[in-house]
């Protein structure tokens, strides 16, 4: 069972998400908050696995709230919920450590899958959109050797950026699943990333993968 807290200043967004998430047996909404400050108090009290967080809110906004939540021990996974994928706030939230993001216009399956994927932490959501967001930011200074990744680890990171799961990476590189897990863990450790989304964000901002040459 995965427990979820919903944070959005619009109650109708919260009620919609609640109805969708509670329609499947493995997800349970354990609380709702209307702004960032309320969210931090609530999460401290109920300790959910996942927080669905609106980025644009009055008062303490989603980015600041994400930072505060990730400072808790143990930190919840934060899934950013947004109206537009091109919103710069989304990338900001990913940069401070959100585990992924979800569009408010997503289908029920996408909503449920997004929460499950974030809880499991084994897949990057919307790899294309993450790439677009990274491209909108300031041009990174490419520094492919910054983190002393091995050739294999760089390869694994590139596939993570494409949104492949561990199993898919294993199949693609003809490696065992355990080996891939080890590589992923090493990449996260070397990049100082809390999860694969953050690793990919770091990879884009430091020019480790796939940005066209400036």
């Amino acid at each position: 069972m995965t427990t979820v807290v919903l944070v959005d200043d619009e109650p109708m967004v919260r009620s919609g998400l609640r109805m969708i998430l509670e329609s499947v047996p493995d997800l349970r909404v354990v609380g709702e908050a209307g702004d960032g400050a309320e969210a931090v108090a609530l999460v401290r009290a109920v300790r959910p696995d996942v927080v669905c967080m609106d980025v644009r809110m009055p008062g303490v906004d989603g980015i600041r709230a994400t930072e505060l939540l990730l400072a808790l021990e143990p930190p919840p996974k934060v899934l950013v919920v947004t109206t537009f994928s091109s919103d710069d706030h989304v990338f900001e939230a990913l940069r401070v450590g959100a585990a992924g993001f979800l569009l408010k216009r997503a289908s029920a399956e996408e909503v449920v899958n997004a929460v499950r994927a974030v809880a499991a932490g084994d897949q990057l959501l919307y790899p294309e959109a993450v790439r677009e967001l990274a491209l909108r930011q300031l041009r990174p200074r490419p520094d492919p050797h910054a983190f002393a990744l091995t050739a294999r680890e760089a390869e694994v990171l590139a596939l993570m950026a494409q949104g492949l799961s561990n199993a898919e990476i294993a199949a693609s590189l003809v490696l065992g699943l355990e080996t891939v897990r080890t590589h992923v863990a090493k990449v996260l450790a070397k990049l100082g990333a809390r999860d694969r989304t953050q690793a990919v964000v770091v990879a884009y901002t430091r020019g480790l993968v796939g940005l066209p040459p400036s």
Binding site: E10, G16, L17
Partner: protein
């Protein structure tokens, strides 16, 4: 035929011909002035009432003044575009400032002089060479030849060819030079660019407001509708009551979003919202009142003469901007004694200057931070463009002072 591209030989010839036409137009004007000069010289010489040199300023002055006549700039801009093939931006402002006027006058003089020289080379020089050619090639000695004997047939031919090439090259280069100089004389001045940039900023701000309204209003409503529809469909089988509630949310959200869209489209349809002029000196009182209402302890000294003096819009708005920026900085550094704002006129009647001075606590030596690229530096650039001076720093009494002085153009 393509436009002057350079690569196609045909277009190159065409461009050279058009530019030569531009020079010949200048030559025609030059000829008119020369006729005037000749006539005057004769009159002066015969009557003997004035020294001969009087004829020179009497003819030079009209050449310079020609560029000041209404409509001449328009004609020159049109000629520069169509004949010289200038692609850079050229402007014909509705309100000509001194800068526009003198640049245009110099340009017209240049057109007349360069055109006159080029025309003389083409109309007198080339035919001269042609008439001398048979004699030179035949090996006879022309009167101007410095050497004792005749130059010889081969050397004569060479002289004719070289002379022709020289005249043609000079005319082509003169045309190219005029095309190159035109933007400086007829293009936008720095002040024009500043106004243009401000115009663009205002339009950008309007776009941003529209984008924000679309994002916050319509975008929000549509995503809410989508989300509630997804949710309602998910529960309609098991919890019809909740599904109905979703439908209600969808109905209300859609309706209010349409109302909002209606209002937005209405305002767009009414055409561009008349641009509010940038706040100026007349709005200083309101600026002061706003800061006082926000709790800033503010002492002011506003020159009463300001109310009766018509400052150009750009000077007036810069004064307001400087005051607003400096007061915002002062407010940011919090309490620490009163802030003083002084705005006043100084200088003799024809060289007036308007000054703005804001002094505030020096914030423990900390300098006011630049605000989004439009802080102190943006202010300094703008002041510089207007020919003013700006200082910012400790005033020697432990306080921070920002002082700006701007010249007030005489025409105002």
């Amino acid at each position: 035929m393509t436009a002057a591209g350079g690569a196609v030989p045909g277009s190159r010839v065409r461009r050279i011909l058009l530019r030569t036409a531009f020079l010949l137009a200048g030559a025609a004007l030059c000829l008119a002035f020369l006729l005037l000069q000749t006539g005057l010289v004769q009159v002066v010489r015969q009557s003997g009432v004035a020294p001969l040199w009087v004829a020179v300023p009497v003819v030079v002055a009209p050449v310079l003044l020609l560029g000041l006549l209404p409509g001449v700039r328009e004609v020159e801009v049109a000629a520069a575009r169509s004949l010289l093939g200038v692609r850079a931006e050229l402007v014909t402002p509705d309100h000509l400032r001194a800068e526009h006027r003198w640049r245009c006058a110099v340009w017209v003089s240049l057109h007349v002089v360069v055109g006159g020289v080029a025309g003389a080379a083409l109309v007198v020089g080339l035919p001269g060479l042609v008439t001398e050619a048979p004699a030179l090639v035949a090996g006879r000695r022309p009167g101007w030849w410095p050497g004792p004997g005749a130059p010889g047939a081969l050397l004569g031919l060479l002289l004719v060819v070289l002379g022709t090439a020289l005249v043609v090259a000079a005319v082509v280069m003169a045309g190219a030079a005029m095309a190159r100089w035109a933007p400086w004389f007829l293009g936008p001045t720095w002040r024009d660019r500043l106004l243009l940039a401000e115009d663009r900023l205002a339009r950008e701000a309007q776009h941003q407001r529209l984008a924000r309204e679309l994002h916050d209003g319509i975008g929000h409503a549509l995503s809410l509708i989508s989300l509630q529809a997804v949710a309602g469909r998910r529960v309609v089988g098991v919890e019809p009551a909740r599904a109905e509630a979703s439908l209600q949310v969808i109905e209300q959200t859609a309706r209010s979003a349409l109302d909002e869209l209606d209002a937005m489209l209405g305002s767009l349809r009414d055409g561009p919202v008349p641009r509010r002029p940038a706040p100026g000196v007349a709005d200083l009182e309101r600026l002061v009142a706003t800061h006082r209402a926000l709790g800033l302890q503010l002492e002011t000294e506003l020159d009463p003469e300001l109310g009766s003096t018509a400052l150009p819009g750009l000077v007036s708005s810069t004064v307001h901007q400087v005051a607003a920026e400096a007061l915002a900085n002062a407010a940011r550094y919090g309490p620490g004694g009163p802030v003083r704002l002084r705005v006043g006129l100084a200088g003799e009647p024809h060289r007036r200057r308007v000054g703005v001075e804001v002094t505030s606590r020096a914030a423990g030596g900390a300098q006011p931070r630049r605000t989004g690229g439009r802080g102190l530096r943006g202010m300094a650039e703008r002041v510089d463009v207007l020919g003013g001076t700006m200082t910012a720093g400790p005033d020697g009494h432990g306080r921070w002072a920002v002082a700006v002085e701007l010249p007030v153009p005489e025409s105002s």
